[in-house]
């Protein structure tokens, strides 16, 4: 795979050396912390939190970090009732979850940590569909969609049925795809092959010439030799296009939510600050894409100022539709 990663290797090695130095420096400054940090939530965000916790545990061996994978919804449920300190989330908090938090007196700080580029993939032998628009995707994936064969999308394409593959309908990945492509009240076609295991989707799409599917970019980067990524509105997904936002609208931010009360504890505060200063170096290791430096800067300032609440929903429950990067710049 990874011509694009190989190209970045020297830079990443340098970054690794620098971050090791930075880790050594902060270890001296911080001294020994104690206590628990309880994290739970999205399995998509888990690899990032795992990477950060691994480095943090090496530096602060007396802090007991535990990370669970109850899913974004399950994590928020525990987070909003005050059971855990930090929630991993692959989507912004929902209004109903904010109400639960308010009921339990839980206030929180929203911290975007990385990008996941939702990638639309087709079979290697699929030579025709190298580029699709969001409207094309809507025709293909919507329950009311008109495209059931490739010919329906473009008259010059084969008259073969489209085999659609999708992640589980409870997953954050599906939620995001649905909202962007089908709209809030849209319904996905019922004859998709659905799997909770993204590796199964990789197998499915790489084994069927007329298949199309979607999942997080980490699974595409690992399997770039077996799959073709479809350009969306002319842009192919890559580390660069996801980070600079040109791979729109499928660059989706991933978050951690920190309990404001827990954030006052020194070990939790140190962990989140460690997260923010090392995320950019570590997310690439686990197949995700770092946020632009300006966004990390803004997030760090928000964190330092203790800015509470979400940037995605107003207090009366309406969703803010401004693009993510605009909100955080």
């Amino acid at each position: 795979m990874k011509p694009l990663f190989t190209a970045l290797l020297p830079v990443r090695r340098l970054a690794a050396v620098l971050s090791t130095l930075a880790i050594a420096a902060t270890a001296l400054a911080l001294g020994d912390l104690k206590g628990n940090i309880r994290v739970d939530g999205s399995s998509t965000v888990f690899p990032i939190t795992e990477a950060v916790a691994e480095e943090f545990a090496a530096e602060q061996p007396n802090v007991n970090v535990t990370v669970g994978v109850s899913g974004t919804g399950g994590g928020f449920k525990r987070f909003c009732s005050g059971e855990i300190d930090i929630a991993d989330a692959s989507r912004p908090i929902r209004h109903s979850e904010m109400e639960l938090a308010a009921k339990h007196g839980v206030e929180f700080i929203e911290v975007p940590v990385a990008y996941d580029g939702l990638t639309i993939v087709v079979n290697k032998q699929n030579t025709w569909a190298s580029e699709l628009s969001v409207d094309n995707l809507k025709q293909i994936f919507s329950a009311q969609g008109t495209a059931r064969t490739w010919k329906d999308v473009n008259p010059s394409w084969p008259a073969e049925p489209i085999l659609a593959y999708s992640p589980g309908t409870d997953s954050g990945t599906f939620d995001y795809f649905k909202e962007v492509v089908l709209g809030k009240d849209g319904k996905a076609r019922s004859d998709m092959s659905v799997s909770e295991d993204d590796n199964a989707l990789v197998l499915g799409v790489s084994g069927n010439k007329y298949a199309i599917g979607f999942f997080g970019c980490a699974y595409y980067f690992e399997n770039a030799d077996k799959l073709t990524a479809v350009k969306v509105n002319g842009v192919a997904p890559s580390v660069e296009t996801i980070e600079n936002g040109t791979y729109a609208p499928f660059s989706r931010p991933l978050f951690i939510y920190v309990n404001a009360k827990a954030a006052a504890q020194p070990q939790v505060k140190a962990f989140v600050e460690f997260y923010l200063s090392h995320a950019a170096d570590l997310v690439g290791d686990v197949g995700y894409v770092k946020l632009p430096a300006a966004v990390y800067g803004k997030v760090s300032r928000n964190w330092a100022a203790g800015r509470l609440g979400t940037q995605f929903t107003t207090s009366d429950g309406t969703t803010i539709t401004t693009p993510f990067t605009a909100t955080y710049q």
């Binding site: 691994e54 545990a57 009732s81 059971e83 993204d198 399997n223 570590l282």
Partner: protein
């Protein structure tokens, strides 16, 4: 045997009888071969994928974002703690219930109702027990406050307890106890039932009390079969992941349990997570973890079988 419509006394021609016999044999042989072949294919593919990743370091390291550095120490110890808690609670309660229902309880409508419910509970999906475990053990019906638990001792001591139990080894062990209790009870009852009634009657006729009969005669005679049931039940407990996820098992943790209140992770969770990762390196260590889990299971069952052989005495 004569089939319907045949004149009694006229035997079926031997060729047909033998043919039926041979057909039945080949059906049995085919199903056995199929079962063994699938099992072999699974074990071989896991061994091929995972063998190279097995090492002492793999057993003695915590999880990592780099597959070549990651290990299963936390999951291995977590599984041992949780299953031990489960076994230590489920065996006495399960066997005790079976003894009561078989030897002491009057055979009336109430006992029959209880019996029916136990048999039905054996078929309930384990995730449902997870929800019960979360409510009853992890949160204790909200009687205590989650953020300010009532504690006994401090978290450094091995006998540390807190209420509610939270997402701890004890809550998980008790939840798995609920999962396997129906199977434990039913199989122990079968074991007790297989002890000949004449033995019991003899003992009672000699003037022994029911307790003496159970303790000195029925239970010792039933123990080998009870152990078989226990093996099956505990094997199921080792493989469970779903109910523990509901109770609040962690996945990443950098220490092994120190007491019953420690947070934990278990092997099936670790395997599931690694198998779902995009990087092929994680798929290899998932296979290695499966090998460890299989060895653990074999060790455990081996001990139980050895125990059974030692205890199995012919009835006098």
């Amino acid at each position: 045997m004569s089939s319907i419509g045949q004149i009694p006394g006229t035997p079926i021609p031997p060729s047909r009888r033998l043919l039926t016999n041979r057909a039945f044999l080949s059906v049995c042989l085919a199903s056995t071969t199929l079962a063994v072949a699938v099992l072999c294919a699974l074990i071989i593919s896991v061994a091929v994928d995972g063998w190279g990743s097995l090492s002492w370091d793999f057993l003695d390291s915590f999880a990592s974002r780099k597959p070549e550095k990651a290990g299963i120490k936390a999951a291995l110890f977590g599984s041992l703690w949780v299953v031990a808690t489960c076994a230590l609670t489920a065996i006495p309660i399960g066997v005790g219930t079976a003894v009561y229902l078989e030897e002491f309880a009057p055979k009336n409508r109430v006992t029959r109702f209880i019996q029916l419910n136990i048999t039905n509970l054996a078929g309930v999906p384990s995730i449902v027990y997870g929800i019960i475990g979360l409510t009853a053990f992890s949160r204790m019906f909200g009687v205590f406050r989650l953020d300010e638990p009532v504690t006994l001792g401090n978290s450094e001591t091995f006998w540390f307890l807190q209420f509610p139990f939270g997402p701890s080894v004890l809550a998980a062990g008790l939840t798995l106890m609920l999962v396997i209790l129906p199977v434990m009870i039913v199989s122990s009852q079968e074991a007790l039932r297989s002890v000949p009634a004449t033995l019991r009657q003899g003992s009672l006729a000699m003037g022994a009390t029911t307790w003496q009969t159970v303790w000195r005669l029925t239970l010792p005679a039933a123990i080998p079969t009870i152990i078989t049931g226990t093996i099956l039940a505990i094997s199921r407990a080792i493989g469970e992941a779903a109910p523990l996820l509901v109770v609040g098992a962690a996945l990443l943790i950098f220490r092994t349990p120190e007491n019953l209140m420690s947070s934990f992770t278990v092997l099936p969770l670790q395997i599931f997570n690694w198998a779902g990762r995009p990087q092929a390196g994680f798929h290899a260590i998932a296979a290695a973890a499966i090998i460890v889990q299989l060895v653990l299971l074999i060790l455990f069952n081996g001990t139980a079988v050895a125990l059974r052989l030692r205890l199995q005495k012919p009835l006098q």
